[in-house]
Structure formats: structure tokens, C-alpha cells
């Protein structure tokens, strides 16, 4: 994606960017991936525990235990956001905290809290989905297209 942008630059700009890139601290990709793996895996590990807790102690089945599990993970993320520590953990963990559903919850809680100064209706209500909106929009639209395709193919004689 960044290379496509570079081709639209003039030769002077391209030369400068090469010059500048050589003097920038690179992102520690491997180390970041390791951190993301550990924290992300850890959050999923915790999620597994929460799911089992609901399975054994309540009347949930494998299928329905997903709902309260997600709700608990969301609550945990919001608590950490409110405590002001989620962003510090995330600076270290990167995708490890962003990819699990905790990242989704944090984005909504953080936006809601931040925009309270603009009032509850326009601020909290209007801007809560600032970051999470794209996930919902694209998820729903993708599901729609895939649903159409699969149903259409099935109707036309099957796969």
C-alpha cells in the first residue's frame, strides 16, 4: 500500500523518502509480533476460561455460552479503559489487545468517554462508534454479500 503511493511522487520526493527512511527507527516487527502473540493468546486463554465457567455453572450450551463470554470480555476491556491502563497495555501489546473483541469494546468506551464533553446526545451517542463503526459496517456488508452468494449458488444447483 505504501509502495503504490510512492509511485505517484516526483523523483525528488522519492529520493527524499529513501533518504528519510534510512534515518527512521524501523518498527520492531518481530518483537511486536511476539508481544501480540503472547497477549492475544493470553486474552483468548482467559476467554476460554470464562466460557467454561459459564458452561459448567449455568445452563448454557457450547453454542450459547459465546454470548455471555463476549459480554464479560467487553466488560473487562471497559474496566481497563476506565482505569486508564488499557492504552498503556495496548502500546506494548499492539494487535494483541486490538484484535480480540476487547479492542472493539475499548474503542467504543474510549470514544464515548472522550466525547462526553460534547454532551450525551451528540458527544457520547453520536461519536461512540467513531472507531468501531467501520468494523460493523464492513462485517455486515460482507455477511450480506457472502450470504447472497452462498444462497444464490445453492439455489442455482449447489456447490
Amino acid at each position: 500500500m505504501s509502495d503504490k503511493k510512492r509511485k505517484k511522487l516526483t523523483p525528488v520526493q522519492q529520493e527524499y523518502q529513501t533518504f528519510a527512511r534510512a534515518r527512521e527507527p524501523g518498527r520492531p516487527v518481530l518483537f511486536n509480533c511476539l508481544k501480540a502473540f503472547l497477549v492475544g493468546g493470553g486474552i483468548c486463554f482467559l476467554g476460554q476460561g470464562v466460557q467454561d465457567f459459564f458452561l459448567w455453572n449455568f445452563d448454557f450450551t457450547e453454542k450459547t455460552a459465546g454470548d455471555p463470554t463476549v459480554a464479560v470480555m467487553v466488560l473487562l476491556a471497559v474496566i481497563l479503559t476506565v482505569a486508564g491502563v488499557y492504552d498503556h497495555i495496548a502500546q506494548w501489546a499492539g494487535a494483541g489487545t486490538a484484535v480480540p473483541v476487547t479492542g472493539f469494546a475499548n474503542s467504543m468506551a474510549a470514544s464515548a468517554m472522550e466525547h462526553r464533553t460534547e454532551g450525551f446526545v451528540l458527544g457520547v451517542g453520536g461519536k461512540m462508534f467513531k472507531l468501531a463503526g467501520s468494523v460493523i459496517v464492513f462485517g455486515v456488508f460482507a455477511a450480506f454479500i457472502i450470504g447472497l452468494l452462498k444462497t444464490g449458488i445453492a439455489m442455482l444447483g449447489g456447490f
Binding site: M1, C44, F45, L46, Q48, V70, M73, M128, A143
Partner: protein, 117 residues
């Protein structure tokens, strides 16, 4: 116990994909999450995500990819019952818990707490 091991591994690996999208692809978090959600939807369309859930448990249900999977699932289940219109009506059936929880707890957070800056 084996379930926990695979939950950790698979969940971790999905996060690594996200991290690579951040660092190598230079995508923003919003772009990355959107890509992952669509990936989850596509994988379910290909019939690959449910087996992953059976195998890795929370390792597949906790990452945001499961959101895409759940949306497609809802759409297809409803479509089987009520035909094409089911695609529209079924989409949100399975995912409301996560979104509702995020809205409710997010609102409560804004009600009672200030950001720390």
C-alpha cells in the same frame, strides 16, 4: 486442558496477522479490524471458520474475526428458513450480545468516568 492450549495458540496467531497488517501493511487499526472481520466472514462462507471454532474454542471466538463469522452464520441460518430475505433479517441475530454489551458498558463508562489523558 488441550482446549486452552489451542485457544492460546490460534488466538495468538490471529493477533500476529493483525500485527503484521499494522507494521508491514501500515494499515490503521480501523482498516485492520475491518479486514479481519471480512476475513472471518469469508472463511465462514467457505465453511472453514466453524471447524476452527471446534478446534480452538475461544481462540477463534474471541478475536474480531469471529464477529464476521457470526454475522454470516446468522444470515445463512435465517436464509435457510425464510429464503433470500433471511439474509437481511438474520445478520444481527447472533452478534447482538457483543455490540449491546459494548454500547451499554461504554455508555456507563462515559456516564461515570473521565478519561485520564
Amino acid at each position: 486442558m488441550e482446549a486452552y492450549f489451542w485457544a492460546f495458540i490460534v488466538g495468538g496467531l490471529i493477533c500476529v496477522v493483525g500485527q503484521l497488517l499494522f507494521d508491514v501493511g501500515r494499515f490503521t487499526p480501523a482498516h485492520t479490524m475491518s479486514i479481519l472481520v471480512v476475513a472471518g466472514a469469508v472463511l465462514d462462507g467457505l465453511g472453514l471458520y466453524e471447524p476452527l471454532i471446534d478446534f480452538a474454542g475461544a481462540g477463534a471466538t474471541v478475536p474480531i474475526t469471529s464477529f464476521g463469522n457470526a454475522l454470516v452464520h446468522g444470515a445463512l441460518t435465517e436464509a435457510e428458513n425464510t429464503g433470500l430475505i433471511g439474509i437481511l433479517t438474520g445478520i444481527f441475530e447472533v452478534t447482538s450480545a457483543g455490540i449491546s454489551a459494548a454500547i451499554i458498558f461504554g455508555f456507563l463508562a462515559a456516564l461515570f468516568f473521565k478519561p485520564k489523558g
